[in-house]
Symmetry: C2
Subunit: 200 residues, 2 copies
Amino acid sequence: MEYYSNEIQKLIDNFASLPGIGRKSAQRLAFHVLNMPKEKVAEFSEALTSARENIRYCSKCFTLTDSEVCPICANKSRDHKTIMVVETVRDLAAYEKTGKYDGVYHVLHGAISPMLGIGPNDIKLKELMVRLSEEDINEVIVATNSSLEGETTAMYISKLIKPTGIKVTRIASGVPVGGDLEYIDEITLLRALEGRTELG
Amino acid sequence: MEYYSNEIQKLIDNFASLPGIGRKSAQRLAFHVLNMPKEKVAEFSEALTSARENIRYCSKCFTLTDSEVCPICANKSRDHKTIMVVETVRDLAAYEKTGKYDGVYHVLHGAISPMLGIGPNDIKLKELMVRLSEEDINEVIVATNSSLEGETTAMYISKLIKPTGIKVTRIASGVPVGGDLEYIDEITLLRALEGRTELG
């Protein structure tokens, strides 16, 4: 392996260790970095360590943030009586991008998966229950994925919360907007049928 | 854009600025980094700056290296009278991986492309001619790509070197090993026909 010098090889290895980046892409990225302005590389390098050093969980909703409480939980103009429960920070971001949800969130950091050995104690469920007992909450919207794990988690959460009397809802499952029925799986089609609503 | 904190956003932006990495992948990579052990992140960060700071062109063949002369040019057991001319360092690496070439290289860092406004003076051609006049060279193997630009460059190099009396050869163009004739373009098929060799 004498064809790349040590430093380049190390950089390639680092890129290749990231998910979804193979050897070829890692090479391409490493060579791109070697041609980037030095300041840009320094900035990238700084962004890596600084994000890793300073990012932690929001003490309320467990999203990733660089302050004690995340901007969403700190925002007084949002509806703090509605909590949307999501699996990951990316799911939170997806709903935030719609710009139409003004409640707050709770990030589970995973979903219950007996297959992968992930139980209720491995995700931020206890923390959700603590919030429900301490805060004044009207509704919990369960927005876990529409996968086996997501559904299992939704059911579990619903059973856990029901006794407290707090309203628990689940986001609708059905045909995606713009979706072509022909290409949609049967379970989704059945869900869409079950969830049908009356036309005005 | 309040849904990601500043530090995460900066990291995502940095990843997204790399070639072939879109917003979604950049997000995925950034979150992966946040879950990596701190030492791994520090190592990655260090690899970025250190590669960018210390890597330069080999003073002989212009490949990227962290020393004055690259390991290949410094290797006395290689054949220094045969130079393979390639467009990029990755092409050099591709030939090195075969393990069967024991000459040295010359990296052009590009190919002549009137379309993109890249002329003979924009690639390391002058440097090749200097080497040919200063060193004792038997053969120059032109291994530029089999693209329009690569072929143009090969022709140009051949015309430039012919008067010096040094042997100039071109790597063969044809059907890739394992290739299915049915799926190969006509020009390649014609090249393969032209380049046919007699069977023992």
